[in-house]
Amino acid sequence: MAEPKIGVWICNCKGRISGSLDTAHLTQEAAKLPNVVFVKETDILCSQGEMENLRQEIGESGADRVLFAGCSPRTSLRFPEEFITATLQKTGVNRAMYEVANIREQCAWLHEPGPETTAKALDEIAMAHARLRLDRESLPDVLISDKALVIGGGPAGLAAAKDLAGVGKEVDIVEKGTYLGGRLCQISLLFQSENWAGKCVSMCVGPVQASGVVMNPLIGVHTQSRISHIEKEDGNFLATIQCAPKYVDEDKCTACGECARVCPEYALSSYDEGLFSRKAIDKDFVRAVPDVYNIMDSFCTKCGECEKICPTQAIDLSAKLSIIQDTYGAVFLGTGFDAATVHNRPELGYASPDVVTGMEFERLLEHGVKRPSDGETPEHIVFVLCAGSRATRDKEGQGVPHCSKTCCGITMKQAMRVAQGMMETEVTIIYYYDIRTYERTFESLYDTVQKMGIEFVKGNIDAITASEEGGLAVSLNQLDDQTESSGGEHVFEDGKLLLNADMIVLASAQLPQKDPDNLITQLQLRTDEAGFPIENQPRIFRPTESLVDRVYVIGAASGPKVVQQAVEQGHAAAMNVLPYFLKGKKEMGKFASRIDPDYCVSCRICETVCPHGAIKFTTEGMVCDPAFCQACGFCAAACPTHAASLVNFSDQQILDQVDVAFKGVKNGDPKILALLCYWCSYAAADMASINGLKALTNFRSIRIRCSSSVNTALIMEMFKQGVDGILVGGCPPQGCHHINGNYLTDKRTALMHNLMEQLGLSTTRLRFDYIGVSNYQLFVDTIADMDKKLRDLGPNPAGRDLNR
């Protein structure tokens, strides 16, 4: 490799830096650093004029990499890294070939003016120089397919597909059911909008949404299909779709229904939640799209009756399943929700046919509400809220901890429909602590229902059992001092209440849909405890995107939603992917993991820790796909052979910095190194001075990719090099950009403390703290506290020659 040519621009910020330290001295000293071909002190580097000069000076000096000394690349509002990379782009210097010495926020502003502050600034320049010398150009752009894969043909997926096709991009929709529209089609009366108490009927909007998709030639619709295999390859997703045999020719079928009339076999479909049957060849409902009769394989005996009767010869029972393989640039996971919590909660009585879930009740409302057990009209329907949701406090472990958000509103709607349409039927709603009918629509429904005189009882379900009179009995435990139902007709006695009912509707929890094809594992997504895929952190920057690049989790697959919100998410996700689709490529950042096959032993540890699913195991060895890598450095810190390393954040770059970091610290002063995570803790150190705090000058900071990006062995090496104390700062709990880097470091620090204790090295010398952006006071206090304790301790005994 050719010798680097380094240009150095030192900004005095028109006195805001040079007021506290000697920038002329820095300029003089920077010129002495190896490989420096150009040095200049500027007044306001971020100004347009200076940017023009920069371009010219880079050209004239022949510099192939750039060192800026000035404001923080993380928090500066005028010269942040986004601005720097954009500027470099115009000068012909590769976007990775720059480093910034933060001599403003973490130096000139943070310390009292004087020679120690200048000395620290000089060290910071030397550290930036050490990084820069070993920087390498960013990887080439990765080509991204502009075709999308939508898994799940519900309202969210259809919305995304429609948008992408709208800008001319191809989409494949893979739907496991027989029709498009998902749960939307099962709910006849929809809330039109959160902010408008009007209703909409799915009979109308369902086919409109679905037809728009089916008619679009850019969208491939695959019903009764599944993803049998999906993996990441060269920045894209390689998927195999398995489609059910096309027994009925779409072109010939006129949907006359002759086939269903003669079909002798009955089938249960998910459309009616298994409560009502259809024929093995049938349409689930008359308005289902695609408008073709379909065969449910598991119920069809291939008797051939339908084939014989079809007036257009549309049916071919010998059709075989087909396989599609394609490469996609994005995956939209819109697999919807499941309502399974009630199944493993015997006390909810779901085993009785007259106890149904909210979704089942939707279907009963459509078909006419009759008791499933005997077909009689129920006289008393009891709705039970939070059936499996909000399992916290005394209910821990008996369901999911979250509020399913939609069920209160849905229950109000269902109760209202019963009260309006079934004059003889009494309605009771049992709620747990409170009713959560948020915003306008839900709250107005709640209001209506209360005004209608529907009874509300606050209580905790003890058991739902068969009553002696033949119906159902609900026994309740009192929750607080409320002892009466809303109308006063039911009263708790000794904390107990027994209600009779002849039908019960459970507002079952919204859970992630079952995943028989292991898509979560195949896509290497991380999930929360309930099983919902975790979104990229911070959520506000890339909403709907999972931790895996370009895998969007939309609709109820990402958490409880009403239809409209699901649709909104579909649209949002489509917008998120557009920049990639329009450019057809992904520009690679400065940092990426690389695996050296000469050392890798395929132990799969990097794969285990990678939060972004960037590493896969193949029989030819481990492969890191840089287009998915978000450069958290977990792999490098966990790899037992150092085969995995980060480009532009190498062990050598870290250690070289440590080597030059403390030249300006007086002998006898503790040398404190702060390894600060890229986003939170480093910004906290900047925010300290921005908020007028001062700190001691004897600490140096290194901006690390994540608190978990530094191998413990490097920390040991730093002690060996003579650093007296090390602070590792990570994001606050639940704030790590890579889910658990902060926790991993917390754990590794605990383990390191065990070793240090054995070695006789004080554990005061290594500290991990959760330091969020707003915890700048904590940062300053921590440095001061470490300084004090390290002074008491004396110099690091492991930093000396240990061979006595």
């Binding site: 032993v601 820790v609 037992p640 052979t641 413990t712 062995a713 917390d746 065990n754 070793l755 006789g760």
Partner: protein, 334 residues
Amino acid sequence: MDKKITMAINWAGACGGCDVAILDMEEMLFDIVDIADIVYWPVAMDFKRDDLIAMKNGSIDIVLFNGTVRTSEQEEDARILRDRCKVMIAFGACSAFGGIPGLANVSDREEIFRVSYEDTPSTVNPDGVRPQTSCHVNGDTITLPEFYDTVKTLDQVVDVDYYVPGCPPTSNTIAQAVGVIAAYAKGEDLPPRGASISSPKALCEECKRAATKTGQRIPEVIRPHEVVADPDRCFLEQGILCMGPFTAGGCGGNCINANMPCRGCYGPTSKLLDPGAEALSTFGSIVGKGGEDFQLRGQMKAPVNNIKDPIGSFYRFTFPSALVNRTVKEGKNK
């Protein structure tokens, strides 16, 4: 045939297993004797130190040096041998990285003498006599080598050309070392100086169990004595800490085959800075069931705190060559 080369074998701070390993080579021993005259091997043949001292500098072609350097005498031996030889081979884990005797670096001379000469219940030493480097008896001065505070590896005392790892080196490894010696005898190309007679890759690469790795976390650490390990699955997969991923291969996985996890006697692979701290980093990353967001801090750290005795577990054969290679004492005034 060409003129035979000359060879010396020396035993320093070690258990003697390395010498036994050489004797264990059976017929292969004749291969050595075919190409080399053994000019010094105090444990097996009748040589005295004076014979060695009398030799000319550079007169021995190859030295196999086993054992750590724990006393001044061993250090002197090492220096004399270095002067007398052309190629110095650190033979066995002790001389290469410190070995089991290197674990003594958790202690120091004072503590070792106090325990051995005073504290042990079977010691009767009312005058508190301890070994001295010299003492006067009936007008004569008797000397003893100095017992160091710290166990050293051979390369901390003299330059080392090659390393033959293992505790003890397996016969296969010794055969490879003999190959190097033969190449030297024939004047053929030699491995680069500083090379180790082991695999450049970690043991997992050659481990039969590697195929059973799944890429899952280790929910909890199980210590080998707590279970009978599944004889086919990777130890790490079973929650049993194995040093295989950190340790150079080449041993043939004898321990693994005996259903014991690797303890690291072939030393760290070449890119590692420090076997123990590396192991902490790896195990600290994959131990614990995950989902830390939903755990209390103590609960979250429990699985790693379950890793007892990091020095003994992760530096079993390498402590004297670790970054921090002995216990230290904090305190300004020391």
